[in-house]
Symmetry: D2
């Protein structure tokens, strides 16, 4: 099988390598000529056997939409686009409809695994019709981790279902990380009791109820930088967490831990908090409690 | 009526003034001779007609406990101690038992109103037996706001019930303040839409569902310092909020807004957050997401 | 001044009454002929002096949009539409643009006060250009509470700003109600300590930091139905709370109490909770903890 | 090595089996004669070689305290007690001091792994002095999972440190479970999109960021009972979660996800929610919103 892969950043580059290792011939395109195999999307289309399969792995939002639109001009009826970026599932409805007008098929794929996917394989959640998904199965099999297919791949529904599942996956991930972080702070704050914070996390890796890959990463990070002296408590968020809460609101699903995880990130990025200024001002008004003067 | 008042700080000093204005004779004691009417607790006891009534208004915890113990040595059977500080209700059980051994009666009083109490009167929640509470009623009537007694005073149960009610009052207060603060940040963040943040709050003071004294204080604070440029978002907490959550845990009562208000204060006081360092470290581990280096 | 008022439900009917009491002539239209003054929107337009002013007070969303579109066909250049329903502020951008194509002016008004507005007046937050707002001022003055205009009315920005402010107002309101509710449960749960729950809330109405109209309503409700024996703990939500959290997400504003208030409502409406089934199942898996069998 | 083990319930019975499999001779005592090896604690003491080692594995709180006190009467100077129940770390200070008066040594052990520990081994967090911990190491090595000792065992500090670590472990566990539960509800609610909820979780077991043992248990539970039709969403809590939040309050550590997890359990056990009755009552008061009548 010979496919195209658009987007050769941190994720795409690793995926090209894993696909090739798995026996899939890949022609990659990226605006950065240093990593690209071809000079343009039309060159990419020309290089592929028809009916073509093209995997899109670029930043979600406008960039993905732009690529989809351009693919509509260089691909042909019967070709298949697999959109594997971190897109919002509602975008898949637009993108698939846009390509369907030209007879181009569409599958959306949620991809988890981060920079470790090259080595470990990627967890895949795929949405689309059965024929399209079946056609792309050799690609999924090359990308997914070794072991039973069902433990690293799922065809979870029609178009959009892959990214919906990935969105929820990331929402859970936000809350899991926050849970670990709260536990870390509880141990770190009582170093008078807990003499070996890193060792405590290390000892949870086998036998305990909480054993998990995020725990292993936490141990790895603590061994590299005990007490996180080199790291500032400043955390970005990339969209899926917010979308998860929005979907929860749309569907009346209570998500107290996922929302708490996102709000904690928001606070982490504030130099000074407008809301806490307001609380300080209120306490000063009714109780004469002193406030800290801003410098 | 002639009573003793121990503790002449921000609250006690104002209360002495309001009691005197209300026709209660007050002999005040404070370790600070500049504000004290007598030189010691034994002098205070000697100055009062028997059976004595003494109001204690000192910082909760060890200081209150010390005063209670010392009062056990200078007061006599049949005297009445009213403990009006911000004590935990469980302390009342100890304090009243300690004094009961000497035949000294005990009432606990939760007092709300802050620095405005001198002018507006104090909201009072009182615990104790009916005889003791009745005996002290002229004091409560002098302290409470004008208007129907039932709208500024309640005998809410046996010893401890006054401080339990005050604890819950303050727990609610924490959450109310946080709610206002979140609303402030939502308006402040969209000053491109809301051209007059202070004016918006000001306009909520009449007719709306949210009209309240805290809103009036927020308007007052914003008029004094629009955008809170002079205030840092650093907020202390004084105990009742934590106790409220602990009681909630003891009684399996969900208190998501009260706990959120307290956690927001905790975060406001952290220079850098250990938990958010951990989240940043985890994201870096699995996704290669860059972290901010601590300086 | 003579204006049109569309929508004569619980809110609109009361507003018509208050406007008339305030000296504004009102022709009302409602699909329900029992309350309507005219038979159709075109009759309404014909009944009003040009340039016309029409206040729209119908359910937000599709119904409001439908009325706006129909008004575009019966009103004329220079007329003014005031949209006073609980619309999302982003809808105002669409509605005002739609009417602007026909030269019809647009003001959005957030209205607070509920069923009490007839008697107490309505808190008003208004968005639009200065000329339009000035033109409608006699209407706002008739609707708003007595007292200084600035304490019950604000012109808070361009079109959309009124509903943005109202959205935040309602978000705060959600959190305030939840705070009171948590406090209620904390008192109610310890009736062994708090012998008079209603009396405790009643006593907070004067002098305390927490005094507010919601507290007064809580006292009123408890006097009508002590312990809420007649009421089920089932709570709807009407949109503004969800929108507030969505805007918070859009602007990276942490809103832990507002979101907690909404999630509590979601849970209150669930017969059985899917998420808690999952937790019960997990505990059973790892700990052999027994689960309750669903019937 | 020959030790005593007190408490042969779900956990203790499995531990006895694993210890024996690991070459440790165990004499077990339980009030239930059907499972007990001896008839009393004094018989147990008599059966063990001096200096004795006794592992206590009974319900935390009064029962553990009672056993500790009784052990003080049947053990001798130089013996070692290992307290492995789910005790609060502050209890260890009392228990160790009580035994120290008789020269009996004390180690506390947090044990994780649930009913799977017999097969997989138990994660162990141990507090005490180095000599005592070293002496008991053959026991820990028999109980802990296979693999490097540091990945299933930690000597985390002085007496109390083992249970402190276990408390935090369980606090994290509460939040992790709640995160999974929220994700489950988000998938389950949109079964129109997600055609295979169980399959989606199953596919996350390899390669993804969220892979973990709790996920594996969730998949196992869903395969046994898809959609959890047999399970009620009613969840107990056993203490450690509450203690974790209390310690967070004591140390000013924000724990929004851990507290949210506990509050969700509290709500799950309420037939009707007093707080939501209050919110319903408030909405009815100001907005005339209808309430559901309790039956």
């Amino acid at each position: 099988m010979h496919i195209g892969l658009i987007g050769l950043g941190k994720m795409g580059n690793n995926m090209r390598a894993r696909l090739r290792k798995g026996g899939i011939e890949v022609t990659g395109y990226d605006p950065n000529p240093a990593v690209s195999d071809v000079a343009s999307l039309s060159e990419l289309a020309a290089a592929l056997p028809a009916p073509r399969i093209v995997w899109v792995m670029v930043p979600s939002g406008k960039i993905t939409s732009g690529v989809i639109t351009e693919l509509g001009t260089v691909l042909s009826e019967g070709d298949l686009v697999i959109e594997g970026g971190n897109s919002r599932f509602t975008d898949d409805f637009k993108h698939s409809a846009e390509l369907a007008e030209k007879g181009i098929n569409y599958v959306d794929a949620g991809v988890s695994g981060g920079v470790w996917g090259l080595e470990n394989g990627y967890g895949l959640m795929v949405g689309g019709n059965a024929t399209d998904v079946e056609r792309a199965m050799p690609i999924f099999d090359a990308l997914r981790p070794e072991g039973p297919r069902a433990e690293g791949f799922v065809h979870t529904g029609e178009v959009g279902a892959g990214h919906y599942a990935k969105m929820v996956h990331n929402g859970i991930e936000y809350a899991l990380m926050q849970a670990w972080a709260e536990g870390y702070e509880l141990l770190d704050t009582r170093k008078d009791i807990i003499k070996d914070v890193t060792g405590t996390f290390e000892a949870w890796q086998r036998g305990t109820v909480v054993r998990s890959w995020l725990l292993e990463l936490l141990v790895k990070a603590l061994k590299e930088d005990p007490e996180f002296k080199e790291i500032e408590g400043y955390v970005e968020d990339s969209g899926e967490g917010r979308w998860t809460v929005e979907e929860a609101l749309n569907n009346a699903v209570p998500v107290p831990t996922i929302s708490a995880a996102i709000f904690a990130r928001f606070v982490s990025r504030q130099g000074d908090s407008p809301s806490m200024k307001a609380v300080a001002a209120l306490r000063n008004q009714f109780g004469g409690h002193s406030v800290r003067k801003a410098e």
